[in-house]
Symmetry: C2
């Protein structure tokens, strides 16, 4: 009679992947520190500068509160986009991206505030411009074209600002 081993043969345990850390998100273009982000910042900057210059060349913009607010909001957008563009250039030069949660939070909050202000100013200006040109039909005594151009440029600046905000917010939520 053969002795029966007390321990029965056991298959080798399957390889598990429990130790593999959670996959880190790759740098998606548009996240802070990438070339896409820098391009977005430059778009914001250019459109905002055109908007504020066109608005400032109209002599009568201070008589309408919404236009003064547009100048203030777009001015803030210019300052913010300029600072962030410099930060992006630096990050690209040293070939690093912003991983620090606090920094990305700051970027996301700042982007949220500036883009909301720019959008609000553009909407208010658009309301006034449509009132002057369509509802009151007083384009002959007003700089309708310039008001419209400044408003359109502010909208474009906001268009370029919202992807930055969403990319920052997304990269913050997904870590």
């Amino acid at each position: 009679m053969m002795s029966r081993p007390a321990v029965h043969p056991v298959e080798a345990p399957p390889m598990t992947i429990a130790a593999v850390p959670r996959v880190r998100m790759k740098d998606i273009q548009g996240m802070p520190g990438t070339l896409g982000s820098l391009l977005l910042r430059l778009c914001q900057l250019v459109f905002a500068v055109i908007s504020i210059v066109v608005m400032l060349t109209t002599s009568d913009f201070p008589s309408v509160t919404a236009f003064c607010y547009l100048v203030a909001a777009v001015g803030l957008q210019i300052i913010w986009s300029f600072i962030l563009a410099i930060a992006d250039v630096y990050a690209i030069l040293v070939k690093r991206s912003f991983r620090n949660t606090a920094v990305v939070s700051l970027f996301a909050i700042g982007d949220g505030i500036t883009s909301t202000l720019t959008f609000a100013a553009a909407c208010a200006s658009a309301g006034i411009t449509v009132l002057i040109s369509n509802d009151l039909d007083k384009c002959k005594v007003n700089h309708c074209t310039r008001f419209m151009s400044a408003t359109a440029m502010a909208f474009l600046s906001w268009f370029a600002a919202s992807p930055s905000f969403f990319m920052n917010f997304w990269s913050l939520a997904s870590r």
Copy 2:
């Protein structure tokens, strides 16, 4: 001589946690299907209804494009918030929350669109209202108080709508 078993005893494989699924996010109040979300929806609904009713009681709102746009945008907000409030009530009654990515994406996109439209309409109306009351000083011949109330209510509706959007977007990004 004892027969040596061909297979050597092997220790039992250690318990691995590979099979445990990734920890599910808890239901944070404000995410779709929670009581917080329902309260936000009701706030949006109430403020939007007050806004549209106040604006419709002014006889001369159709003469200003921005006010017509406010009525349209707030009307859309009412429809959207009403549908989502019903969805929340259903989810609370059957004690489930919305886990499906497609559904939460739909909610996030819809919230983003409606809240942006409401905010734009509120900003445009605010621009016009400030123009009428401060810049032109023509409150005697216009329903300034009603325009202001409708605008303020639209802003409050947007205030209640943005947390819904951010919670949806966050829960989408963090899965």
